[in-house]
């Protein structure tokens, strides 16, 4: 009996450090954010109870709604484009042809580059003398300012799409390779056209992969900090101010008000928790 209990205890020992660290790094900070959000504090001073003051301030500021809207636009446009490009590339590279192996490896390159490296690559593209304007002039068009108020959102989305689509490609390709060929053969015997095979075999079989990949990527895109910080920094003014950048701005740049930043993260937390719930359910645990 005693040895059984000792055995059970020693099993726990393996996992305890990880559980403790996850609680320290994730759970405690979330709880601390909740606590801090009901306080206010001058720099160097102790936090004082402030009730709902921070929340009232955020609810009444147009900045809050603007950042949520920006994040929605940024995430939706990015995820949609990445899902389409990824699907196109996966369908293409699932066929057999000369050079497929090389293309498969090469396609992963944008994803293998760190976010901050991709951001730097795009500094050279978005510069007034850079790649994209040279291409526009080659086509006889006028160069444009990629980072002005009207174009900045498009520019940060394009950067995110370029960096992120190979993740979809890899997921879809793994899913496509897992579809048994008998299914296609059976559909062929039934006289299905290529389009019908795609609609009634490929898409239904790929659906769980598509959902998992899209949910994971939506979480990451909604939390993207590096790319936007390094290209527009949330600007000009508030054109690309998404939730992560706004949190950083409130806490360290403009207001330097940590309790307000904490309240802001708590206010947006339900959006992320809902998505996390669906993601975890989809990941099948």
């Amino acid at each position: 009996m005693l040895s059984l209990r000792r055995e059970a205890l020693s099993r726990w020992l393996y996992v305890v450090p990880t559980v403790i660290l996850i609680v320290i790094v994730f759970i405690l900070p979330i709880a601390y954010n909740v606590w801090l959000s009901f306080h206010e504090k001058v720099i160097g001073g102790e936090p004082v109870w402030a009730g709902l003051k921070n929340y009232e301030r955020l609810i009444n500021s147009p900045m809050f709604y603007k950042t949520v809207l920006n994040t929605a636009v940024y995430t939706f446009a990015s995820v949609f484009s990445k899902a389409l490009i990824g699907l196109g590339a996966a369908l293409l590279l699932n066929r057999e042809f000369w050079g497929r192996g090389f293309l498969r490896g090469f396609s992963i390159l944008p994803w293998a580059f760190p976010s901050f490296v991709c951001a730097v690559l795009f500094w050279f593209n978005y510069d007034y003398r850079g790649t994209f304007n040279q291409l526009l002039m080659l086509l006889g068009l006028r160069p444009i300012h990629w980072m002005n108020y009207d174009n900045a959102m498009f520019s940060v989305i394009l950067l995110n799409v370029w960096h992120g689509w190979p993740f979809y490609f890899m997921g879809y390709l793994a899913g496509l390779q897992a579809i048994p060929t008998e299914l296609y053969e059976a559909a062929e015997i039934d006289g299905a056209s290529p389009l019908q095979k795609f609609r009634h075999v490929t898409i239904p079989m790929l659906k769980p992969v598509i959902l998992t990949v899209i949910l994971l990527s939506t979480m990451w895109t909604m939390g993207e900090f590096t790319q936007i910080y390094m290209t527009t920094g949330g600007g000009p003014v508030d054109a690309t101010l998404t939730i992560p950048i706004a949190t950083y701005r409130i806490a360290f740049q403009t207001e330097i008000n940590m309790p307000l930043a904490a309240a802001y993260t708590i206010l947006v937390l339900p959006i992320y928790l809902t998505l996390i719930y669906f993601t975890l359910k989809m990941m099948g645990e």
Partner: protein, 281 residues
């Protein structure tokens, strides 16, 4: 025909946005904004590792925005990423082994906790982590940043190693136990040698995750000598102008090729591991 057009579009889509930085990294300074360089030079790369070469550039006013030699930032990034991934892989392997092998009450809760940590957006933690690190006396230290990076490396390694250990048949260990080994000996002599590829994969991915991070480095470091590569890259942009295009391009390519090369070695494990449940269903 369709395949040829598709492949060409795919190649252009990948090459065009990365071309200018590659080209600039091997062009002389005066050709930075020309589509093709007049001659090829490796000076920009050499100057990343050679402070005396860099001092000449500094004298030309090119790298004036950078407070320290690049090699300092490269070293800091290497130190942080290695520390974060070694700790993450060791603890993650223990937890992953536990989650793969044993059944006990509360195991589901642990798995959910790890998955939750894996997908949770870290920016929500920026204020509390800063305050925790200040209280631990680890503010403005590389160790503090490395520990904060456990937020990336630990959940990832745990999940990765769990699925790796699940692929190693338990009968291997049981045979060793029958032969009179203790559980620890069985683990040390039988399971760990078999799991080496898993450790390598988990280490490489953890390394790239930590290498990519800008957020924690930005909030936890205050003196320039401790900055990491992503922060150093932001110094090249001064009032919306790229000060030293060649140096910046070389920095980016170096900082990208290192993790990309590592990544290519093990890429097939990643996504397959992530979408494993979905692929099986």
């Amino acid at each position: 025909m369709l395949i040829a057009v598709g492949s060409a579009l795919l190649l252009l889509w990948i090459i065009i946005p990365s071309f200018w930085a590659f080209k600039t990294s091997i062009s002389p300074h005066e050709d930075a904004w020309k589509p093709l360089p007049s001659r090829i030079t490796l000076d920009h790369y050499l100057s990343l590792f050679n402070p005396s070469l860099e001092a000449i550039l500094r004298g030309m006013g090119l790298r004036a925005a950078l407070p320290d030699p690049m090699i300092v930032y490269i070293r800091n990034s290497l130190v942080v990423s290695t520390t974060a991934s070694v700790i993450g892989v060791i603890l993650g392997s223990l937890a992953g082994y536990n989650l793969a092998r044993f059944n006990y009450r509360g195991k589901r809760v642990v798995i959910w906790l790890v998955l939750f940590a894996y997908v949770f957006p870290v920016f929500i933690l920026m204020v509390p982590i800063l305050i925790i690190m200040r209280n631990l006396g680890l503010y403005n230290t590389l160790l503090g940043v490395a520990l904060a990076h456990l937020a990336y490396t630990l959940p990832y390694s745990t999940l990765m190693m769990r699925s790796y250990f699940m692929g190693i048949p338990p009968s291997l260990e049981e045979a060793a136990l029958v032969d009179g080994c203790t559980r620890l000996q069985a683990l040390w002599r039988v399971t760990i040698p078999v799991a080496v590829p898993g450790f390598v994969t988990a280490f490489i991915f953890s390394f790239t995750l930590s290498w990519n991070d800008l957020l924690f480095a930005l909030i936890l470091l205050s003196s320039t000598r401790n900055y990491t590569l992503p922060i150093a890259a932001t110094f090249f942009l001064w009032g919306g102008e790229i000060v030293d295009p060649g140096g910046l391009a070389a920095t980016a390519i170096f900082a990208g090729v290192l993790p990309a090369a590592l990544y290519m070695v093990v890429q097939r494990y990643v996504v397959v591991g992530l979408v494993r449940g979905a692929v099986k269903a």
